[in-house]
Each structure stands twice: as C-alpha cells, then as structure tokens.
C-alpha cells in the first residue's frame, strides 16, 4: 500500500515537471485584439465641432425660451393689473 502511494506521488511529480517544462504557447493571433497606442489617429478622434455647435445652441435656446416665457408672463400680469385697477376705480 505504501509503495503504491509512493509510486502515485512520483508519477504526479514527474507529470507536473513535464507540464511545466513545456514552452509557453503563444496565444493565437486574432484580427481584433487590443493594441495599445499613446494617441489615436486623427481619423478616429471624436470631432469637436458638433460639441461646440451643440453647446452654443443650448445656450441660445435656453436663454431665448426663458426670456420669451418671462415676456408672456409679464404681459399677462400687466393685463390683469390694468383690468383690476379699472375695476377698483369703477367701484
């Protein structure tokens, strides 16, 4: 029994040594593998012009919309004020 165990241990050690002694296999070359670069080529960089145009458009749209809303509210409240003033004076 003891000899059998010793033989199994020796076989495992030899097999392990044989496996470790194999040269590491190079990974298969894939066409879409990751390739690090320090900077992207110009053709692949995100274009800046759409971002700048979008940013300035947002500014103009928000400001114009808000000023238009204020103008409408002011016109409405001025009409209401004129109407109420007339009603109070008529009393």
């Amino acid at each position: 029994m003891k000899q059998r165990l010793v033989m199994i241990a020796v076989l495992v050690l030899v097999a392990g040594a044989l496996v470790l002694a194999q040269p590491p296999q190079a990974p298969p070359a894939t066409p879409d593998g990751f390739v690090p670069v320090n900077s992207l080529p110009q053709a692949e960089q995100l274009p800046a012009a759409p971002m700048v145009i979008a940013a300035y458009s947002v500014v103009w749209v928000v400001l114009i919309a808000y000023i238009w809303m204020l103008w409408r509210r002011l016109s409405k409240v001025e009409r209401e004020l004129a109407d109420l003033t007339r009603r109070v004076q008529d009393r």
Binding site: A48, V59, R91
Partner: protein, 218 residues
C-alpha cells in the same frame, strides 16, 4: 421698468451678436483645440449661477429676519435664475467634457457639488410653487443652505482630485483668450441684471394684483 432697460437691452443684443465673432477670433487651446471655446459661455454661466445663488440666499435671509416681502420676491426671481443658468452649465459642461475627458460625466467633487447646488434650487422652486402657506419661510431656509454650498463648489477643484480645471485657469489665461473671456463675462452680467429686473417686475406686479383682489373683496 426703468428708462435704462430698453437701451441696455439693445446693448445686450449687440454684445451677444458680437460674441461669436469675438470667440471665433481667439486662439485654439493647445491640448483641447476647438472644444475649449465652450469655455467662453460655460464659465460666465457658472459665474452667474453662483452670483444668483448669493442674491437668492442673501435676499432670503433678509426676508427671514426682517420679514421683507420685497426681499422675498427678489429671492424667488434669483432662485429661478440659478436653475436657468445651472441648466446651461449642466449641458455645456458635459458636451465639453465628452470631448476633453472622454466621458459625459464624472462623479468627482466639483461636478457632484455643482449638481447638488442646482438640485437644491430646483427643490427651492418646487417648494415655492407647491408648498402652500408657509413655503416662503421654508424656501428661504433652503436658499440660505444653497448659498452656503457655493464656496464648496468653487474650491472643489482646488482641494480635491477632479477632472475639472481649477479656477486658477482664469487668471492665467493668455492675452488672446483673456479679452474674449471678460467680454463674455460682461455680456452675461448685463444679461443677468436685465433678466433679474424683468423677473422681479413680474413678482412685484403679481403682488399688486393680489392686493387689488383683496381690495375688491373688501
């Protein structure tokens, strides 16, 4: 409204019409290129957001301690402008960041605290609109809290590690950029003053309408 409103409004139109020409004439930034030109509207909008937060907070404090209805109306007007200019900041910033940093948003100290500031004043407007009786005092307390947040937003990029540039970028601007930047700041200050005047007039006239309704009921 004052007799200066119309000529100042005309001046404002001229300034904003000239702004794209002025900005187009500025040099490109070395690392960011064209996208850096968002800076000329993004930063003045942020400055007006901070100024409006202070106006709202101080007016709210005056309302709380002196019971001044006039101060309360000014606070409401300024609170709305914090949200408006904040909307501009929160949209132009990510558009710039997407190109400059590669991401739309980053949960760093500067951006997160700016978003919180904006959300505090959105909450302020919701409380004032839907809070019912007593919402003026609750809103005033929120505005003071929001105003206290502004210094943290300003120094966040100096004391914590953030993607966002520090405020020291402004004093170190090149001559070609400095002139255009302060031109845009002046335009935005004038815009802010005029819009605040307009907004406050709406509140003042609404207060008069409310008084007249009470007089009619009597």
């Amino acid at each position: 409204m004052t007799r200066y409103f119309t000529p100042l409004a005309f001046l404002l139109l001229v300034l904003f019409a000239a702004a794209p020409v002025v900005i187009a004439g500025t040099p490109y930034e070395q690392t960011m290129g064209l996208v850096q030109k968002i800076f000329y509207f993004h930063v003045p909008s942020a400055m007006m957001m901070f100024v409006s937060a202070f106006v709202c907070g101080i007016a709210s404090a005056i309302y709380l301690f002196r019971k001044s209805a006039k101060a309360d109306r000014l606070a409401l007007a300024a609170g709305e402008l914090v949200v408006t200019f904040g909307l501009i900041v929160m949209t132009t910033g990510p558009l710039w960041g997407r190109k400059a940093w590669g991401v739309w948003w980053q949960w760093d100290a500067k951006l997160t605290s700016a978003l919180l500031l904006w959300m505090i004043f959105i909450a302020y407007l919701l409380v004032r609109r839907f809070g019912g009786p007593g919402s003026e005092k609750l809103g005033a307390a929120m505005a003071i809290f929001g105003m206290a947040n502004v210094p943290f937003v300003y120094v966040a990029s100096m004391y914590w590690r953030t993607l966002h540039p520090a405020p020291t970028v402004v004093p170190s601007l090149q001559p070609g950029m400095r002139g255009a930047f302060w031109f845009c700041v002046l335009s935005f200050v004038l815009l802010y003053v005029l819009i605040l005047t307009l907004r406050r007039r709406i509140e003042d006239q609404q207060a008069q309408v409310d008084q007249l309704y009470l007089a009619l009921e009597d």
